[in-house]
Assembly symmetry: none
Homo-oligomer: 220 residues x 2
Amino acid sequence: MKILSFAEENYLKAVYHLSNAGELDVTTNSIAEEMDTKAASVSDMLRRLSEKEMVVYKKYQGVKISEKGKTAALQVIRKHRLWEVFLVEKLKFNWDQVHEIAEQLEHIKSPLLIQRLDDFLGHPKFDPHGDPIPDENGLFKEKPQVPLAEVEVSGDGIVVAVKDTNSMFLQHLDRIGIYLGAKTKVTEKVEFDGSMEILIDGKNKLFISKEVAENVLVTH
Amino acid sequence: MKILSFAEENYLKAVYHLSNAGELDVTTNSIAEEMDTKAASVSDMLRRLSEKEMVVYKKYQGVKISEKGKTAALQVIRKHRLWEVFLVEKLKFNWDQVHEIAEQLEHIKSPLLIQRLDDFLGHPKFDPHGDPIPDENGLFKEKPQVPLAEVEVSGDGIVVAVKDTNSMFLQHLDRIGIYLGAKTKVTEKVEFDGSMEILIDGKNKLFISKEVAENVLVTH
DNA sequence: AAATAAAATTAGATTAATCTAAAAAATATT
DNA sequence: AATATTTTTTAGATTAATCTAATTTTATTT
């Protein structure tokens, strides 16, 4: 298999994520938005990725990731998430500081390095945001995740991930006291604006907006 | 200060190393050889680095690294060597496996990452090859060189120089398998005649005389 | 179904990094 | 000093990745 450039790996990751986030065919514009680039650049890159058989691309019809592409994307994601674990567990970064650095580290090419890093970290199964880490074969198990917004009153769960990983949002969560692994119980839901009252770890009462409730994922 | 590309950082490193390895003006060809590229590419890159004031470049006259360039080069070298320590100390790589990987890792841009890595590693002063690690300000101390004769039993080091440079002596070293950069470990010392048993690169057992031991300089 | 709007692609430029081949400058040799 | 050789630079191409502007295709709306 040919080696992919940093740019190709990034586009492939975007296609993978958008594929998983629903629609059958990923649109050019959705990729452009995700990658903060222009549609023309995306068209060009899709042509190249298609030549390398990483995606199945039909002009004007959108794009689908191929098996080959999925394998490649999952290896990049594996690297990204392992590095995030390293940064948080070993280098004492906060979970909201690691994404940008992992974006760089994920492109380092050395299978042995990743194997050793995985050993060093004790074969973690989830990254600091609760996302699963694919193994060498790209296999992983999802924790079933539900947005807090969908939990009924008196239902409880454990915070396992966030949908939106932008730094401002994570800092907000930190500030109000929501963290990975926190135990949640929905105590009240307000119909008209989607906000809710919850209990963190059975003691801290919190009021959260619809936006927060939709972006905090819990298992239950 | 502007951000340098990977390629620019690599050329700058080469200029820095060649500057230190002797001559006042580094030649285009020597850079081309060091970097395994063509002279035309070097000329082009020197023009660019010169525009960024990283080097002082006069056509046909060779090039000299500037203060600005030296600072930038030393930061890359600092990163390279810290990563090498990480790979050997934490990920259990052998010292001969780490260079290629560190060549990639050295280009990761995050001052905070390097600060944290340095903390995590306990502020090492030398990399696994015995080369000094510059601090945040680019300052470093060369490792003191000690004759093998003064190393204690079980102490290891790296051959960095010879005291006696006459050809017969050097030929003798060649014959018995001692070379610049060889990893040494003293396994036994004989009191009455100053001879010793050493291990080269962890595998070749050698008996050397007092004369040899006094003239081979190692860092440790 | 024709007109309009939106989405996607192509055309044409630009920048970085590289190359080969040709030209220019510096060095070495007769 | 004139010539030959080596070194270095420039000229001109190429590839990857990007952009803006123009065009084409698809979708939507009257």
